[in-house]
Assembly symmetry: C2
């Protein structure tokens, strides 16, 4: 089967596109009718760097590729629109494997209202998925950028953190999960292998008046620094307030690591960190909570620069990433 035949089989499996998509995969370009403003992001996932084929099913890899891209749209408060996936396929990934990857992509696309509108298929030395996502809003002012946090704003975090990092540790050293219940161990691995973008929460936070927002891909400490730098402000995070995922404390203990390190320096949780005027927090919590997701106040925006983490004893740590907290 050649490239064109495989592409035809892949097209047959695509879920129907949304109303914005007038012409999907198969022409020179996809044609869509955007909203008044678009947010566009590109994310490349490479085998051995962002996932490992021996740890993930191909469907999980497909879902993760779309999830990490959509997480950037969530952090803008955008409505998901179209996704375009360029697939680089090594010789040992066959046609059925490509279809399984696509099924994973299509599953999350359907669940999030994203149209798989096109892409590319090429040979490559390692399995690579490069996903471009386009999100929509009625006007540019509906989007929430990284800049915009103001002194006096509170910092709010969706969901729980440290789970993806703890999950990765248990994937690399299964004995670290020995003290966990099966459900918690599974959940930690899924946080690493099968992240879900916080799309509704992002839209809710935008609507509730978030002044700045970012998704946690590199880790809370590093991503908070991006928000501080973009806004020309300082962020103070209260370590005691951080919502740790269930099992993080146990895995950290088994690995002789500080759970705070996993929470602050561990990446790939794909939760949202937002700055909000304090009077907007309650409304935001109610809106985010509609989907059963928590929104935790974890600190505040101050004058100055950089990010500091206040430990339970009162000491302040400059959050510069893994090393200083490790």
């Amino acid at each position: 089967m050649g490239e064109f035949e495989l592409l035809a089989r892949m097209r047959e499996r695509l879920p129907p596109g949304g109303p914005r998509l007038l012409l999907g995969s198969g022409d020179d370009a996809a044609v869509s009718v955007p909203g008044g403003a678009t947010a566009t992001s590109v994310d490349a996932l490479v085998d051995g760097v962002h996932f490992r084929r021996e740890q993930s099913s191909l469907a999980q890899i497909g879902r993760k590729a779309l999830a990490t891209a959509l997480s950037d749209l969530a952090a803008m408060g955008a409505e998901p629109g179209e996704a375009y996936v360029a697939l680089g396929v090594p010789d040992d990934v066959g046609e059925e494997d490509c279809l399984e990857l696509l099924d994973g992509l299509a599953e999350l696309a359907s669940a999030t209202g994203t149209s798989l509108a096109g892409g590319d298929l090429t040979r490559a030395a390692t399995l690579t998925l490069t996903t471009t996502v386009v999100g929509h809003a009625p006007s540019p002012s509906h989007f929430v950028a990284r800049a915009g946090a103001r002194p006096g704003d509170v910092l709010a975090l969706t969901g729980e953190i440290g789970g993806a990092s703890a999950g990765l540790l248990t994937l690399e050293q299964p004995k670290l999960a020995a003290g966990l219940g099966a459900a918690i161990a599974t959940r930690l691995r899924e946080r690493q292998l099968d992240p879900r973008p916080r799309i509704e929460a992002g839209q809710a936070l935008a609507e509730a008046g978030a002044t700045a927002m970012i998704d946690l891909s590199d880790g809370l400490g590093g991503d908070a620094r991006h928000v501080a730098a973009a806004g020309g402000v300082a962020l103070r995070i209260e370590a005691a307030a951080l919502p740790l995922a269930a099992g993080v404390v146990e895995v950290a203990a088994a690995a002789d690591r500080d759970p705070l390190e996993l929470a602050v320096s561990g990446g790939e949780d794909y939760e949202l960190l937002a700055a909000l005027p304090p009077e907007r927090l309650e409304k935001a919590q109610a809106m985010v909570g509609r989907d059963g997701l928590s929104l935790t106040r974890i600190g505040e925006v101050r004058g100055g620069e950089g990010v500091e983490v206040r430990l339970p004893g009162g000491a302040l740590l400059k959050a510069t990433g893994f090393d200083q907290l490790g």
Copy 2:
């Protein structure tokens, strides 16, 4: 230097974005204000598959990555808007190399009015550039898809063909260029290494009333088949009418190949093939000619299916690609 520092250096070198781009590289997503309709296409270029680092400068590779993506927008008649480039970088490609790649991208972006609006940077086993381009039009009806050719339409081709294929032959076997003047030999190599998208011609053909359009990436025979299949029509191409690039006949002779094979089955010319009502041809030729580019009538649309090439002696060949013509 880490990823963030390199990204910061790359951002400094980006040419200013166009008026549609409100927020460029550096946030979770780029924010732009689209036209009434967008055309979006993704193209991945992999070292050893689509280019060879030993044959091309890094600036040429950067330009080619953007050029091949923009060629798809040209084939829609779209106005170029934004480009997003995901760069997969192997260990032996350093920071200065990345900046040279970017300079090539930026040069063509500036020349075509394209905003380099974002992207991604990751490690990879081989150098890979995945480029997503977004083009604009006032409404979806301004775009020209592959479908739409009607029996009675004429087939028109911009520029000259066979040059990229002949250029590749001379790159692989320099002695094949021995009989050519230096300027022609250089031009053939540039057709292969440094293609230019026919953006203005695509917009002119759309405005002149093209009913179907495609860019020649796979080769005239194969790309014509896409137009025939999408429109449910047959295409007849007159071999004698094909505008061969200077030097193609000589290189084909030196390589003991048929020049028609290079013209019909050789890919990567990135010229545009359009179907037009006959009464629109003259206007289209005048509009395309404004930029000094030729528009040649090379055949016609008929009832039926498939593509046939009429040889100078009158015999008909089914164009199914390289094999039957080789």
